[in-house]
Symmetry: D3
Subunit: 249 residues, 6 copies
């Protein structure tokens, strides 16, 4: 099975880290291909950055050739709905993946993300997915995304402190890490705090395998229907539907 | 007061119609400037089309110079959150505008939109805005967006029939027209059916005036904070924050 | 345009303050007529006071002659549903006005009102309007309504302190002032705290103008239908429907 | 135990019917005193009528002398919150009484009320009580309140037909009759349709006994706190708090 | 009237205490029969214990002979749905009884229960009953169920401290005691804190009387339908439906 | 990896069918062990049957020896919470498995289950899981569970007809089959109707693998904490915690 893991930002060191985490989490027979758009923001911190990453996500999907499933590796699940329109193969966001799996091992979870500005988008996704009632709180650790890439930053310390507060104050039974760049921290933080700590990248890769292996494909009779044929203008002309080569469908 | 009304699709005849409807609805002292992106889809029908229109919306905002308020004239409120990050001036979506005003004159409203594929995005917005409980039903009339531009199409007939069903079956006390391209139909349909029929373009222009006149500006301490300074790559480099010229702030 | 702004309590100094705030917020061409009932409570602090103000609200509407719109200037939106039955012209409550506009400039808002006893009615309105999910918290500042009229009271200080808590603890992105008597404080408090602070009187007057200018009228096919003809007894006989002179319809 | 059952409208034949139904439902040791206001509407059909009945409800409570509990016998639970402020003794509305008891014998219930205009107020109460999720549908039978008093009307037939639809279409497991004037029909309709049919008058009288017998009294630390001392103007001066004689406290 | 009060755990001293509380709360003419299963856990603390008590609850119902109503005296309302299938007579849980009555005397209530592990099941019940929005918080007092039976334990002190926090922090207007073993504490704690404190055992007995006296019986057309005839295996063969002797129906 | 798949009813032909479906859906390296309790109901149709199957589920878990994960193969997710207390290894219900995966490939899904009496328990689970807003409707096909085992029954026809209605009337974008006994029908029905049709058994086995492979274990700090040590009476003494041999922990 081949899974395309798309880091929606343009920071290749982060793509590498995500790719390694994804491959480590995948089944042995699964090949993870990790990519990022060429055009767009170097990190996604809030609604503004988000929208400039989505055309690049679609471009990477088109470029990648046939895939069995796709993972969008930004915790905001950036562009997830559009990506689902672009293929029949399953597309899984790392945010939703972690939320769903957390509900299978805990009554309530909290999220520990990066900056305060990213909290509303995550809360909004929880509402849309239906899982707001299962999330005790979305917490910001005041760590910028790219600080997670810096050796010697106090990022891990801040995240750990916020997990402690989630357990003590929110009565969270599990904690979801709210950024793809935290993928390498989950295991140690789980041991440290004695609660399940979920990383969305690992969750999403395994869920993508699961949905694909079950032969389930994105429904094409509602909001995720194949885009109607039309001619996009200018820079976006290459993505005019019907899509030249719809990945894997 | 100057208001930039952005039609997120690239169909200029629709931009003209929207601009005329907006100017007609505005206060006499208000100047409406109607624009559309150069790059992107000719109509927005579902999640896929939507994401290719947002960078162009931001571009039009940047290009327009100082404005007192902005209106996004697609019923999906495409790119609304990102646009709010880009300026302190009020940004109003035509969907939200019609929903909010409908609740001030009716206990429950229904929405009559274009195609079935657009229903989920509208339902999702209602949930996010908090107004799901006030909407009886989102109904598709099976009219494609650009058919609204065609003389002689049966679009008006289909929309009218769906309004009749909304009143009879949903017990809707008001009806919101779910596409900017229906702006010219609201008055006659209201008379025909004896219920308030709301067009989002008119609602949004007046709400934008209202918020601006009250001196209210978008909050910058949460999800709509000014984007963090960073260098976007490639095609999107011109939109790297801090924004060269943040409109009107 | 003529708008009747009804202060539901009998304190004329408060009516004057509200009238001035309303006229200051209105468009130049709008004439604000500020009135209060002759019979009823001098301030509205909780459910009990509220019900004794409503017949007087209806009486003032009947007495006022033709109006283009009505504003009910008590933050509980006292008697709003009944007033909507009494006319086809728009009727706007100052509570709902501030809530709706706050959602257009902020992801979440908190309310700072007067006494603890008034909190449940406000929470209940938010639920009814559908906007509970957008309100982080309704906070009491422990200021009695008429203390807002006293020079030298510590009311402003208490309200400001509560706004600070709303921003720090609730992560509110905007604050709504929960009493018509706070209308003169909004601007300075907004500057002081660096967040939008909304006064319902100003919001409602502008929203009333907006709804009226758009030609929207209260729906008469559901809960706001014209009252059925019947003979009220005793003191209330003058309000027996059909209403002698339905304002402006 | 003495329970004051207040019919909020001024139609004495309806007060008699309600009083008889209440006494029949009460424990043998309970004395039911049935009254109605002198001033106000002869029937309550929608928001407008409602507000003119509430001062009279409070007046009847004050006039009645010491009571162990109060029942408000209009299905809208008219004035319930205000009445709870006026006494520490329990006050039960017939709407809420039927809703709560229905949930103890059925997973979901539907309501069959009189006119369409009364539906929104009932839906709004369900939301406020928290029980919306337990109500499948609020249905209007198109029967005016006072038609229930007319021999030979087709009211019973229409109500029965609506119950049949509630069972077939809503999958309602129980049906609540949505008007005090239907009190005499519940038993026969239950037998006819083979489902529990609840009359709010009987439910409320028994619940009032229950709350009173358990020694529970309305909480005075929040929204139902004793009204603050103040001087009401004009016609309402007699109800200025502190209440001259707070019933039974 | 005869009411079977079932303590779902096997601790007979607790059954005695519950039985006395139930009889004390009941109408004079009511005979309370208090029983407990022979097989099962000595206390119910969380989901695991719960499921081993339910077959014994059904067994006690079958053994008891004709009854007018049943009360399940564990705050989790253990086995309530199954018990309702087993009889047409009303079955009331002590948790639901306290929740419903609390909403009749207070806008919001908090629950003070035993251990943290019991909180999720109570929250889940509130959601199912529809009453989550009326409950400010479910609080654990860190008291094990059987510690309530020990003279000299600090259980009462811990519970009282938690009630104080519920009033101060949650703005709870009433407090529900979340364990049948707290039945004897309600009155004194209510006096101590000046708020209504509800014990579910008393509430349930009176509600059971009420539903039975009103002639209401559990609906048999939905989820509580009589179990389909089938042959249970092994240990549970005696409970194979149709039930040998369905209590009181 | 070894997964214990527990059919909670005692019908061994159904256990065989479920076991085969589970093994077929599992990864090649996974060994499925399918069992059913010796004591209990031959099919689970509603709340009553359900509770008699749970002690047997726990017994089978204890008997099975070390397992990597558990699947409860009744669509009601019978005993799921209790089973999660009994082990740290993941426990997945087939209902929740299908619901969660359906939301990853469709905006809204409907459920087609067996009998009307099973609908409320499923709706209740959806509410608890947080996914009610994602489910358009839970539909009964009027097929008894064991009729699915009968060659020549019209079960498949009835189910197919109900799927057609779900697509046409509910606008469901995917359909979840609401009984373990329908496991063999999913693929053909999906092809027939052109929408994803999900079988919970396959979904649960793959999800169990996923959660286990990710090293996630059920949180032990809240509702799923290890049962407190206590001595169960009589028939249930063998299950007294601490559990003799906690499976796989």
């Amino acid at each position: 099975m081949r899974i395309l893991v798309i880091n929606p930002n343009t920071t290749t060191s982060m793509t590498d880290k995500i790719g390694k985490a994804a491959q480590a989490a995948a089944s042995p027979a699964t090949e993870v291909v990790a990519v990022n758009p060429k055009d767009g923001p170097p990190s996604i911190e809030g609604y503004f950055d988000e929208v400039f990453s989505v055309p690049g996500i679609i471009a990477e999907m088109a470029k990648a050739g046939t895939m069995d499933a796709y993972v969008i590796a930004c915790f905001d699940d950036t562009g997830l709905d559009a990506a689902r329109c672009a293929t029949e193969a399953p597309v899984i966001g790392i945010g939703e993946a972690a939320f769903h799996l957390a509900t299978l091992i805990a009554g309530k979870f909290s999220v520990v993300t990066t900056l305060a500005r990213s909290v509303p988008a995550i809360e909004h996704n929880l509402l849309k997915y239906g899982l707001s009632s299962r999330c005790a709180k979305v917490r910001a650790s005041d760590v910028a995304v790219l600080d997670l890439e810096l050796p010697g930053s106090d990022a891990r310390h801040k995240i750990s402190a916020e997990i402690a507060r989630a357990v003590a104050e929110d009565k969270a039974e599990a904690v979801v890490l709210g950024c793809a760049g935290m993928a390498d921290l989950a295991h140690a933080l789980s041991t440290e705090h004695g609660v399940p700590v979920l990383d969305g990248v690992a969750c999403a890769v395994r869920l993508a395998e699961t949905v694909s292996a079950l032969g389930l494909r994105t429904s094409k009779i509602g909001g995720y229907a194949e885009p109607r044929a039309k001619r996009f203008s200018g820079h976006y002309a290459p993505w005019s539907p019907p899509l030249q080569r719809r990945a894997s469908s």
